[in-house]
């Protein structure tokens, strides 16, 4: 029996009885209070700073077709993604041969909400963490990962085993099942036509309908899921062939609601142009070459092939 099964069994023992009623929310729970408390001095100061920051942020982040003098225009999202697709297609990165491992190194720095002594929540950026992942080209083999704080000579955390796909079915792998196990490469059946890739990312299948209506705001429903899955594909250490990577970018270009965001930084602090679906994490591309850099939380620093786990690419 697996240790997780024991923990689940303990959870079953500790669960509330099925007949235990759960108190509903009080009738007044979900009402906006009409009473507005006056702001204290420090709150007003924080609000003023926040508004000023938001205005400054909007001025730099919002894609602007009419660019003020001296500043390069932010291209449209479709342009960025089409350029990125073209650049990816021309990539000459070495392809994995036979057995072996795909090595990927990323640097991540995530925002974290910390409760202050006065009860307020402050968002700070976590210290950058280096992650090295080795995923096997052979899908049923386990991969490995290790992490350590960036900079200095910090020791690596213990190895983490990434379970391979024990029941790999190359012919029928669904997006919704993709992240259940670690894959160094995509199955040969992975589509390379943008429309087919988009359908795969949305996990479209006969009889399934997206219930979410088109929205002028941040994208939602299957579109948001497709964006999230594309992000996951690009970031979790799987090797993407140039035509696969290119097709993913072209597929994202077809999503209504994705926007380009100027002057963003990836997880390692590299400047770039972002592609956002309205969420907190945007994809980041080099502003000139349109090479994929990572996301606003994580940066792909290098990827290559090795013969064994723990060995770095030459």
């Amino acid at each position: 029996m697996k240790d997780l099964d024991l923990i689940k069994q303990l959870g079953d023992d500790l669960a509330p009885r099925g007949d235990e009623p759960l108190a509903g929310p009080p009738a007044s729970a979900f009402r906006d209070s009409s009473r507005k408390r006056p702001l204290k001095t420090w709150q007003a100061g924080v609000l003023a700073l926040t508004v000023a920051g938001a205005i400054a942020g909007a001025a730099t982040l919002r894609p602007s077709p009419n660019t003020p003098g001296g500043q390069a225009a932010t291209p449209r999202a479709a342009t960025v993604l089409d350029n990125a697709a073209a650049v990816s297609q021309e990539s000459t990165a070495s392809r994995p041969q036979g057995a072996g491992y795909i090595f990927t190194e990323t640097i991540s720095s995530y925002p974290e909400q910390v409760q202050q002594p006065d009860g307020s929540i402050k968002t700070i950026r976590q210290a950058p963490v280096v992650t090295q992942v080795w995923l096997s080209v052979e899908p049923t083999k386990d991969g490995k990962q290790r992490q350590r704080p960036e900079g200095g000579n910090a020791a690596w955390d213990p190895w983490v085993v990434l379970a391979g796909c024990r029941e790999a079915q190359d012919s029928d792998i669904r997006a919704s099942e993709f992240s259940r196990c670690a894959r160094g490469v995509l199955p040969a059946s992975f589509p390379t036509e943008p429309a087919a890739v988009l359908a795969w990312l949305k996990d479209d299948r006969p009889g399934r309908q997206d219930s979410s209506p088109p929205s002028a705001g941040p994208i939602a429903g299957q579109d948001a899921l497709a964006f999230e899955r594309a992000r996951s594909l690009l970031m979790t250490g799987t090797y993407l062939r140039p035509d696969q990577r290119s097709a993913i970018f072209k597929a994202l270009a077809q999503l209504p609601g994705v926007v380009a965001v100027a002057n963003v930084q990836d997880g390692a602090g590299r400047q770039g142009v972002g592609i956002s679906a309205g969420g907190t994490e945007a994809l980041v591309f080099h502003p000139a070459s349109f090479a994929f850099l990572g996301t606003t939380s994580s940066a792909v620093m290098r990827q290559g092939t090795t013969t064994e786990v723990g060995k770095l690419p030459s």
Partner: protein, 200 residues
């Protein structure tokens, strides 16, 4: 793991508004937020109940929904499923009850030892196996760091995927894996040798 069998709980189904849509609608019609209570309260309650017991679990659920309601304007509408967001808030509430949680583990450990807690003892089907792994397991859970326990129990007791746990805890996916790995290693070290464990 989490009870959703009555059909009235859990994520939205085909044809229903997604959580994100409900949150958006609730900005104009606050009462719509009650739909999310119907969908997610039982799951959150079940999770908090396992960790804290009945009384604190009810507090956690009430506080979680009140805070979520007040913060709904900040919700990232690109995420159609709000369950990780509710867990993000609930986890902070549970952290405020850490003494209650530790006391619960101590009480459970004692009850597995002397079977003094008849209510719980009645619910543990196999006394022999309870003595072999439940007590050391509870003690091991108590010794985990809060961050490790949050990840482990989100995956084991709330059936969150690694991606959902990463979103709920606002940490990278790789860190979820690391913490989960460390937590499981510590758990295994506490379990009796005669229990066969499949190392992952």
């Amino acid at each position: 793991m989490i009870d959703t069998e009555d059909g009235a709980q859990g994520p939205s189904r085909a044809g229903e508004s997604t959580d994100a849509e409900v949150i958006e609608e609730s900005l104009a019609q606050p009462g719509r937020f009650g739909v999310l209570y119907e969908r997610h309260a039982r799951v959150l309650h079940g999770y908090a109940y396992r960790r804290l017991g009945r009384e604190a679990a009810e507090d956690v659920v009430a506080e979680t929904f009140m805070k979520a309601f007040r913060a709904r304007r900040t919700y990232d509408l690109s995420h159609s499923d709000a369950r990780p967001w509710f867990f993000a808030i609930a986890i902070r509430e549970i952290a405020r009850h850490h003494r209650v949680e530790q006391a619960r583990y101590r009480a459970l450990s004692r009850s597995f030892e002397d079977r003094g807690d008849e209510d719980l003892a009645d619910r543990v089907a196999d006394a022999t196996s309870a003595h072999t792994w439940r007590k050391p397991l509870v003690e091991a859970l108590a010794k985990l760091s809060r961050r490790e326990r949050d990840v482990l129990l989100m995956v084991a007791w709330a059936d969150l995927t690694y991606e959902e746990a990463a979103r709920a805890l606002e940490i990278p996916l790789g860190t979820v894996r690391s913490r989960l790995h460390r937590a499981r290693q510590k758990i295994r070290r506490h379990l009796p040798d005669d229990i066969t464990l499949e190392l992952v």
